[in-house]
């Protein structure tokens, strides 16, 4: 007689934001085997980038891969295309791009924290964090002119400049947010339903993080010191106060704290950018046709985003390879599930901050 039972989670489940299906092989309440199906929202973006759109338009296509990290997708593609055109942006453009990416990181991390709170049964905190997140959404809307699809970065620069009123708004909202994050850190540390619930649950060990190539907050919570911001030289992150945030326990609590402390660090970075914004043009001419192969890595809120772009001097590109953070984190995720209780699965999943529309592209 079979001793295990199979319990599915998804593809539609109350705790899931996006369609993903896990098949858990359970022994009583304990999960001993996992199988994942992630391709529910495949749209063929890679194919569209090489068949239907010219290289100047692809930046707007890849932004539609994912709503939350729209800016990082466009940025990675734009950097790759600029590399192929032999163009390097000036400092003002670099700083404005960094500003948007860091704002994006803040609101993406807040969304994830809200959902981990919700999955601990703390609905009120979910509402509160989502409300506070509006501060950042407001800033992004004011800078780019749109709430979700920013379309802010284009080849050769950025589309809009930062006026003094905008800087004042950013300063004000970041100040308000910094206070709220301080309270949140206290809450996540001391509130029983968050700290007791999440300590020691869903542990990824450092060994496993190396073996399964974990990345982003998932790896940093396990103590694996990897952050693309420190491993690439496309942006001057060290100049503006970037610090790598590391935790050691690798459980959900540690992941929450990596995110919270990264928000604090990102607020710091945003403030430094606004105070030290260099002068210069925001749009420059990047002429020519993309020729050759370029590889770009950018730290998206969920981890490393990788683009490989190949062109052969034509308007159409030969290949656009998109490797998204959740896609590479899935083997590590499946490892974390093994050995935990079935009842914890939604909370563990939320703490990974999975993005299925990125994964399936």
């Amino acid at each position: 007689m079979k001793k295990t039972i199979q319990i599915p989670l998804g593809s539609q489940h109350i705790s899931l934001l996006e369609p993903i299906r896990f098949k858990f092989e359970c022994e009583n309440e304990k999960i001993i085997g996992v199988d994942a199906d992630v391709g529910f929202v495949h749209r063929g973006v890679e194919l569209a980038c090489t068949r239907s759109f010219e290289f100047k338009q692809v930046g707007y296509v890849v932004a539609r891969v994912c709503g939350l990290c729209a800016i990082t997708h466009t940025l990675s593609y734009t950097l790759a295309a600029e590399k192929l055109l032999g163009y390097e942006a000036n400092d003002r453009i670099k700083y404005l791009r960094m500003l948007m990416v860091e704002l994006d990181r803040i609101h993406s991390h807040m969304l994830c924290l809200a959902h981990t709170a919700e999955n601990a049964g703390f609905e009120a905190l979910f509402m509160q964090i989502m409300g506070d997140r509006e501060l950042i959404m407001e800033v992004q809307e004011a800078i780019s002119g749109n709430r979700i699809q920013f379309d802010y970065i284009s080849i050769g620069g950025v589309n809009r400049d930062l006026t003094s009123e905008l800087s004042a708004l950013i300063r004000k909202n970041l100040g308000l947010l910094a206070e709220k994050i301080d309270t949140l850190i206290g809450l996540f540390d001391n509130n029983w339903s968050l700290s007791l619930r999440y300590k020691g649950v869903g542990v990824l060990s450092l060994e496993d993080a190396y073996t399964y190539n974990a990345l982003g907050p998932l790896a940093r919570a396990a103590g694996l010191a990897t952050d693309v911001r420190a491993e690439t030289s496309d942006f001057p992150y060290e100049e503006i106060g970037y610090k790598m945030i590391l935790e050691s326990t690798g459980d959900i609590h540690a992941r929450n704290f990596v995110r919270l402390r990264e928000i604090v660090n990102s607020i710091e970075i945003c403030r430094n950018i606004i105070e030290n914004l260099p002068v210069g043009e925001i749009q420059e001419k990047a002429k020519g046709k993309p020729n050759g192969e370029a590889v770009i890595r950018v730290e998206a809120p969920r981890g490393e985003l990788f683009y490989l772009v190949r062109g052969s001097g034509q308007n159409m590109l030969d290949r656009v390879r998109i490797k998204t953070p959740t896609f590479s984190a899935i083997p590590a995720m499946m490892e974390v599930f093994k050995g935990s209780e079935y009842a914890d699965a939604p909370a563990i999943l939320a703490s990974f901050d999975p993005c299925m529309s990125c994964t399936a592209k």
């Binding site: 707007y60 002119g145 379309d151 749009q283």
Partner: protein, 143 residues
């Protein structure tokens, strides 16, 4: 722990944080990316906006007499503003307003009618270039 319980209790007496939408109006920030507006008088019909538009929401219909007609689909547009940046006379011929487009209803024919237009625009151009070519050949043979 107890501070968060107190906080939750105090929330009962705090004002509502959400916007009561149909009753209250949403205030869009200045610089909101809205509808693309075209000026027939100022436009020089260079077709640059049509070429750069990522979703293909701007099309030009070619009339037989030579003039072109601007056609725009606000439901296909992604409001990126690439057309305005490509325009040789921005703010005059083509500008991005702060107006918001309402959702399409069936009568707008946002999908089917646009496909018909797309075909019509392509055919009008092909017919126009073919007519031009044959006119050229004719004038040459007359010489």
């Amino acid at each position: 722990m107890f501070s968060s319980m107190l906080e939750a209790f105090l929330n009962l007496f705090r004002p509502i944080r959400t916007l009561q939408y149909p009753a209250e109006e949403i205030i869009l920030p200045s610089g909101y990316r809205g509808l693309i507006e075209h000026d027939h008088e100022a436009c020089i019909y260079c077709d640059k906006c049509e070429k750069v538009c990522p979703p293909g929401a701007i099309l030009f219909f070619q009339h037989e007499a030579g003039e072109k007609e601007y056609r725009y689909n606000p439901w296909l547009c992604i409001y990126c503003g690439e057309c305005v940046r490509a325009c040789p006379k921005p703010e005059e011929a083509l500008r991005q307003s702060e107006k918001k487009q309402l959702s399409a209803v069936a009568a707008d024919g946002a999908n089917e009618q646009w496909f018909v237009w797309e075909d019509a625009c392509r055919q009008s151009r092909e017919a126009y270039t073919a007519a031009k070519k044959s006119a050229k050949i004719q004038s040459k043979s007359e010489e």
